[in-house]
Symmetry: C2
Amino acid sequence: MTLDPPWRPPAWELDPSQPLYEQIAHRIRVEIAAARLPKGTRLPSVRDLAASLRVTPNTVMRAYAELEQDGLLETFRGQGTFVAREPGVEARARARIARQAFEHVRRVAADLGMRVEDLLRLGAEEEGGDEDARSH
Amino acid sequence: MTLDPPWRPPAWELDPSQPLYEQIAHRIRVEIAAARLPKGTRLPSVRDLAASLRVTPNTVMRAYAELEQDGLLETFRGQGTFVAREPGVEARARARIARQAFEHVRRVAADLGMRVEDLLRLGAEEEGGDEDARSH
DNA sequence: CAAGTGTATCATGTGATTTAATACACTTAA
DNA sequence: TTAAGTGTATTAAATCACATGATACACTTG
């Protein structure tokens, strides 16, 4: 075999209380968006990544499937899973993430009746503060 | 009875795939942060809100408990649940939400190796666009 | 053919969430 | 005192998404 040296994922910690397959998909999405995963790059096989993450192949499958659904990946039976060659994948992935982030703060700001600008300024000021301010 | 006219929640839809008690807590948190729920305001009784949301009293209890834990509410047995009188509740609630929102975009930007400023600018441009841009 | 790909389908287990039904402790008005 | 309305606690059960584990199939390449 040894067609292409498959991309090797960086050390991953799967902690946060989010579905495993979502975490996996998210990490890959980010790697693509950040252009650290060039188009055409071969991903680890479902079984390999599963083993490396101490997870079931089924779970990795679900992550890959979601990303293929998004058009970020393309798979070929018997060959492997690759970052989509379609032009603009990185840009699309990046734009998508950026838009979601913006809409998030947009909604929060609207809920509070604030402008996005002011909300973020306030949030930045609170950096590292608060913790458990109220002594109760 | 009829001590105080308890605060009447606006029409609520409990759709998003988040725990019910989290959704309830979030809505109240926002109302407090936005100062639409002044300190000392009496909330609907656990049973009333539960009935109005077509939910179990247990679920509302959990939401109230979480907010009391955060110091946003204070409860008195036999009397009811109220917005904490402690000075600065609204500000604290608002600051907390703002900080979380900021840290969110902060992390996303870091993941992409972008500055928060640029991330949001990009996200704002994409407003309403994309949808399902890739034709696959 | 053999080894390595993706894919599909089960049955099963697990854990958080939610329901439902009670029961208890307290406060207030009648 | 009584009754109605508060919050609170407990228990059993149902549900559901998630993840596992095992197995089988389809395909590509050397």
